[in-house]
C-alpha cells in the first residue's frame, strides 16, 4: 500500500508537470497578445513594444517556460500581468469562497441526485417524470437556470439577498443552481447502479440469508451502487473548485472561475497558469482520493498483493 501511494504521488507530480507543459504550450498556439489588453486600444505600437519588453514577452517560448518552471519549484507563480499582484495571493484569496461554494454545490447534487436515483432504482419501472425532469435540467443553460432562481427567489419573493458576495444565506441560490445542474448525472448513474446491484447474485444471497430489507439495502445494495457516483463526485469536486464561472457571475460570487476566464481574455498568462496548476492538483488529489475510498468501501477493487 505504501509503495502504491508513493508511486501514485510521484506520478501525480508528473501529471501536474505534464499539464503545466501542455497548457503553457497551448497558450502560444492560441492567438493573443497580453500587451494589447494591458495597454488598451489607444496604445501606439511603440507602447505595445515597451509593454512586451517589460514583461519579457520577446523571449522564446521555451525560455519563458523554463523561467516559469523554475519559479514554480520555488513556490513562485509569478506576478499578474494586469493586476501586478502575486498570483499565489490572488488565487489564495479566492480559494475559500470557491471551496465553500464547491462543497455546498456538491452536497446539493449528491443529496438530490442520490435520493432520486435510489428512489427511481427501487421502482419496478423507471419514472418517466424523473427522466423528463432530469433531461430538462441537463439541457437548460446553467446561466439561465441560475438567473431564473435569482429572479424568482431573490427578486420576486425576496427570500434571499441578491446583492452578491459571500456570507449568510447568499450561498443558497448558487449552491442550488450547481446542485440542480449536477443532479441528473447522479440520479441517472445511481439509478443505473441500483438496478445493476439489485439484480446481482450477492443481493440474492443477502435476501436468501433472511436479512431485513433495510439491512440488504444498506450493507449490500447502496454500498455497491454508490461506487460510480463516488467517482463522479470526486471529479466534480475538483471541477467545482477549479471554477464554475456562470454561477459566479450570475450571483456575483468571487471565485476562481471568474479569475480564470478573465485571465484568459486578458491573456494574463501567469494568473491563467496559476489556476491551471490549482485545477491539476485538485484533479490529481481527487482521483487518488476516489481510488482510495473506493478500495475502502468496495473490496473488489482492492489491489492484489502479488
Amino acid at each position: 500500500m505504501a509503495r502504491y501511494l508513493a508511486a501514485r504521488i510521484g506520478l501525480g507530480v508528473l501529471t501536474i508537470l505534464a499539464v503545466v507543459l501542455f497548457t503553457f504550450l497551448l497558450m502560444f498556439v492560441v492567438p493573443g497578445d497580453p500587451a494589447r489588453t494591458i495597454a488598451g486600444p489607444r496604445a501606439t505600437p511603440q507602447v505595445l513594444a515597451l509593454v512586451r519588453a517589460n514583461l519579457h514577452l520577446g523571449q522564446p517560448v521555451l525560455a519563458q517556460l523554463g523561467h516559469y518552471l523554475a519559479g514554480i519549484v520555488q513556490g513562485d507563480f509569478g506576478i499578474s500581468y494586469v493586476q501586478k499582484e502575486s498570483v499565489s495571493s490572488i488565487i489564495g484569496g479566492r480559494l475559500p469562497a470557491t471551496a465553500e461554494l464547491g462543497l455546498a454545490g456538491l452536497a446539493v447534487e449528491l443529496v438530490l441526485g442520490g435520493a432520486l436515483g435510489v428512489w427511481d432504482g427501487l421502482r419496478e419501472k423507471r419514472s418517466r417524470w424523473l427522466a423528463v425532469v432530469n433531461v430538462g435540467f441537463l439541457s437548460v443553460p446553467s446561466f439561465s437556470l441560475g438567473f431564473l432562481l435569482l429572479l424568482l427567489f431573490g427578486y420576486e419573493l425576496s427570500l434571499f439577498p441578491i446583492d452578491g458576495g459571500t456570507g449568510g444565506d447568499r450561498i443558497v441560490l448558487p449552491a442550488l443552481t450547481l446542485g440542480l445542474f449536477g443532479m441528473p448525472y447522479y440520479a441517472n448513474v445511481v439509478r443505473d447502479a441500483m438496478q445493476e446491484t439489485l439484480a446481482a447474485p450477492y443481493t440474492r444471497t443477502a435476501v436468501a440469508k433472511g436479512l431485513s430489507r433495510r439491512q440488504v439495502l444498506r450493507h449490500h445494495v447502496l454500498r455497491n451502487a454508490l461506487s460510480p457516483a463516488l467517482t463522479m463526485a470526486g471529479l466534480d469536486f475538483a471541477i467545482l473548485l477549479s471554477g464554475v464561472v456562470f454561477v459566479e457571475t450570475v450571483f456575483d460570487w468571487p471565485g476562481i472561475g471568474q479569475l480564470q476566464t478573465q485571465a484568459f481574455y486578458n491573456v494574463d498568462r501567469p494568473v491563467l497558469m496559476g489556476t491551471v496548476v490549482v485545477a491539476a492538483v485538485l484533479v490529481v488529489v481527487a482521483t487518488l482520493a476516489i481510488d482510495l475510498i473506493r478500495m475502502a468501501i468496495d473490496p473488489r477493487t482492492r489491489l492484489v498483493s502479488q
Binding site: V30, P31, G32, D33, R36, T37, I38, A39, G40, P41, R42, A43, T44, P45, Q46, V47, V51, N54, V82, Q83, K84, E85, I90, G93, R94, A97, P141, S142, F143, F147, L151, G154, Y155, P161, I162, D163, G164, G165, T166, G182, Y185, D236, I239, S242, G243, V244, V245, F246, E248, T249, V250, D252, W253, P254, G257, Q258, T261, Q262, Y265, V267
Partner: protein
C-alpha cells in the same frame, strides 16, 4: 465534461462585456424622455449650462487666437453659492450631504493608476473619483474649463501654455499641490518603465518624446516658473493640447505615495479628486472611494462614499438596480439587454439615453480583394440599410453613414451621408466588373456584432455580394487587426475630446496607430496636420470637415451608425449627469431618501 460546458457557457456571457475599446463609459445625458418627468428642472438646467458652455467656448477660441487670452476661472461662483459647481456641470442647488452609492460593473479594471487605466471601470474611477485634471469638460463635451488649474494662458502663437495652479488644491493626503508635482506626474506618464498608453498624447510637449524614448531624463518643455505656475512649451501649435489637459492621466499624483506603493500604486492612488480610494478588495471584488475632505471645490462631494462592485452579469445587475442593491450600472445597459427596456415599461424610469461622440463601422482592408477597388467599397456603403440595423438596438445607435461621429460641437459638415440605395450599389458593382463577389468578415462575438454581421450578410446578398462570417475570440480579433490580417472587421471608436481629430489622427492618417485599413491619402494627412495646427477651433473644424468628405469618398470603411449610451441608474440619484467623456459625475450627486 461539465467543466467545459460551464466554461463555454460562461464564454458567451463574458464576451458580451464591452470593455476592449476604450472608454465606453463616456456619454452624457439626454434623458430618454423620462429624466425630464422625474426632474422638471433638468431641462432648464441643461440649457443653462449649454449656454454657459458656448460662451466659455468662444472665449477659449479667442484664447487660441494667439493673443494670450486668459481663460475664465470659476465663472459660476456667482451663479451658485457652492464654489465651482457650475463650471463643468449644472449648479447643484439643494444638495444633501451624506449617503453612499453602489456602482455595479461586469469586470475588474485593468488598473486604477491614472497613467495606465483605460477600460470602462478604471476610466470611471479616474475621471469621477480619484483624479482632478487641470481642465475639465462640460457634461456634453463643452469646454474644457479650468479645474485643478485656475487658468491657462496661451501665447507665442499657440506654443506656450502657462498654467496657473488653483490655490488650495491639495492631494488626498493633505499636501498642497505645486507645479513640481505636475512635472513629476507627467514625467511619470512618459517613463518608459511605466509604458503608459497615454504617453504619445504628451508628445506635443517639447522634449516629451525624448523622455519616452529614453533619450532624456526630464521633459525639456516643462518649466516651473514658481510653485504655482507651470510653463509648457509645445513643439508646434496643437489645438488638441488643451483637451489633453482635461484627461485624467494629466492629473497630479503624490510622489510620496508612488514611491511607497510602487507597482501597487494603482490600489492606493493618491491624487486630487473628490473621492479617495480607501480600499481595493480584489478577493471580494469591491473598491471603496471615500469623500475627500481636501477636495478643492468646497462643499463637494455630497456623497460620503462610492462603492464599486464587479464580477456580476449584466442581467443580474439590471435586477439589482430594480431591487435597490446597486444605484448605477457602470457599463450601462448593454446591447443585448436594451430591448428589455422597450419590452418592460416599468424599466423606463431607470434609463437615461446619452448621445455619444462615437461611431461604429466595418473597417476594410484596402490591400485585399475585393476592397482594392474603391467602387466596391462605395457600392457596399450604398447597399446598407442602416435603419434595419439600428432598429434592433432600441436606440443603442442611430443610422449614420459618415466616418466622424454625428454630434461634434461647432462642426459644419460638408460631406453627405451614404444612404440606402441598392440600385446605385448594383450599378457601382457592375461598373467595377464585379460578379459573384465574396469576402469574409472577421468579428468577435461581442454584442451586437453577431447580429449586425448577419443583417449585413442578408443586405449584401440582395446586391449579389456574398459575405461569410468568421467569429473569433477577442484576442484573436485584436491580433488579426493589428497584423492587418483580415478583410473586413467591425470597429467602433469612442472619442475622448470634442474634436474629430481624435478619431482622424488615430484611424485615418497614414501612420495612425489604429489605421489597420492600409488607408493612406496624402490630402487627408495634410488636412489633419492643418487642423492640428489651426489657430482656432472653427478653422480646425473647416479642415476636418474637408477631411471627412475625402475619407467618406474613399470609403475605407462601411459606416454604420453613431452610438448612444444607455445608462441604468436609480431614480433616487439627484442631480444625475452623465458626461460624454467621463461618465457619471459622482461629486455633485446625492441620493434622495
Amino acid at each position: 465534461m461539465r467543466e467545459f460546458l460551464r466554461a463555454l457557457e460562461r464564454t458567451g456571457s463574458l464576451t458580451e462585456r464591452k470593455c476592449l475599446l476604450i472608454i465606453e463609459t463616456e456619454g452624457e445625458g439626454d434623458a430618454m424622455g423620462d429624466q425630464g418627468s422625474d426632474d422638471p428642472a433638468s431641462l432648464s438646467r441643461r440649457d443653462l449650462i449649454r449656454g454657459a458652455g458656448l460662451g466659455l467656448g468662444a472665449l477659449y477660441i479667442a484664447g487660441c487666437g494667439g493673443s494670450s487670452q486668459k481663460l475664465p476661472g470659476t465663472t459660476s461662483t456667482k451663479a451658485s453659492s457652492t464654489a465651482g459647481v457650475g463650471v463643468p456641470g449644472p449648479p447643484a442647488s439643494g444638495g444633501q450631504q451624506g449617503g453612499s452609492i453602489v456602482v455595479g460593473w461586469e469586470q475588474e479594471g485593468n488598473s486604477f493608476d491614472p497613467a495606465i487605466g483605460y477600460d470602462l471601470i478604471s476610466w470611471d474611477s479616474l475621471c469621477n473619483c480619484t483624479t482632478a485634471a487641470p481642465m475639465i469638460f462640460g457634461a456634453e463635451g463643452e469646454g474644457p474649463f479650468p479645474n485643478a488649474a485656475a487658468s491657462v494662458d496661451i501665447s507665442d502663437g499657440g506654443t506656450l501654455y502657462t498654467m496657473h495652479l488653483r490655490p488650495g488644491v491639495r492631494f488626498q493626503n493633505g499636501r498642497t499641490v505645486t507645479a513640481h508635482d505636475y512635472v513629476y506626474s507627467w514625467g511619470r506618464v512618459l517613463d518608459p518603465k511605466i509604458a503608459s498608453w497615454a504617453a504619445s498624447y504628451l508628445y506635443p510637449i517639447e522634449g516629451a518624446e525624448a523622455v519616452f524614448n529614453g533619450k532624456a531624463k526630464t521633459v525639456k518643455g516643462l518649466t516651473v516658473a514658481d510653485p504655482m505656475t507651470l510653463k509648457i512649451r509645445l513643439r508646434s501649435p496643437d489645438i488638441t493640447f488643451i483637451n489633453i489637459l482635461a484627461q485624467p492621466y494629466l492629473t497630479a499624483v503624490a510622489k510620496e505615495a508612488v514611491t511607497r506603493y510602487g507597482a501597487k500604486f494603482a490600489k492606493h492612488v493618491v491624487s486630487t479628486g473628490p473621492f479617495t480610494l480607501t480600499s481595493y478588495d480584489q478577493q471580494g471584488q469591491t473598491a471603496v472611494f471615500k469623500r475627500n475632505p481636501h477636495y478643492f471645490w468646497k462643499g463637494l462631494p455630497y456623497l460620503d462614499s462610492v462603492m464599486y462592485r464587479w464580477g456580476t452579469s449584466a442581467q443580474t445587475e439590471l435586477l439589482q438596480l430594480q431591487h435597490g442593491n446597486v444605484d448605477s450600472i457602470g457599463p450601462g445597459i448593454g446591447p443585448s439587454l436594451v430591448p428589455q427596456v422597450s419590452a418592460q415599461p416599468s424599466l423606463a424610469k431607470y434609463v437615461v439615453k446619452v448621445q455619444l461622440p462615437a461611431v461604429r463601422w466595418i473597417g476594410l482592408n484596402l490591400k485585399r480583394e475585393p476592397f482594392t477597388d474603391i467602387r466596391v467599397r462605395q457600392a457596399l456603403n450604398w447597399a446598407i440599410n442602416r435603419e434595419q440595423i439600428t432598429r434592433i438596438g432600441y436606440g443603442e445607435s442611430v443610422p449614420w453613414g459618415l466616418p466622424f461621429p454625428e454630434n461634434l460641437p461647432s462642426f459644419h459638415r460638408v460631406a453627405t451621408q451614404y444612404g440606402y440605395d441598392p440600385q446605385k450599389a448594383k450599378a457601382l458593382l457592375a461598373a467595377a466588373g464585379a460578379h459573384n463577389l465574396s469576402f469574409q468578415l472577421t468579428t468577435t462575438s461581442d454584442d451586437p456584432n453577431p447580429s449586425i454581421a448577419q443583417i449585413l450578410q442578408q443586405q449584401f446578398k440582395a446586391v449579389g455580394v456574398n459575405m461569410s462570417i468568421q467569429t473569433v475570440s477577442d484576442s484573436a480579433y485584436n491580433t488579426s487587426t493589428e497584423k492587418k490580417n483580415f478583410t473586413a472587421a467591425p470597429v467602433h471608436w469612442y472619442q475622448v475630446q470634442p474634436t474629430a481629430l481624435d478619431i482622424l489622427d488615430s484611424n485615418y492618417t497614414t501612420n495612425a496607430s489604429s489605421n489597420y485599413w492600409n488607408y493612406s491619402n496624402s490630402k487627408v494627412d495634410k488636412l489633419a496636420a492643418q487642423a492640428l495646427g489651426a489657430p482656432s477651433t472653427a478653422q480646425s473644424n473647416v479642415y476636418l470637415a474637408e477631411a471627412e468628405k475625402l475619407i467618406a469618398a474613399d470609403a475605407p470603411g462601411l459606416f454604420l451608425g453613431s452610438l448612444n449610451f444607455i445608462d441604468g441608474r436609480s431614480p433616487a440619484l439627484q442631480n444625475f449627469h452623465y458626461n460624454v467623456f467621463y461618465g457619471t459625475y459622482y461629486d455633485r450627486l446625492w441620493k434622495s431618501a
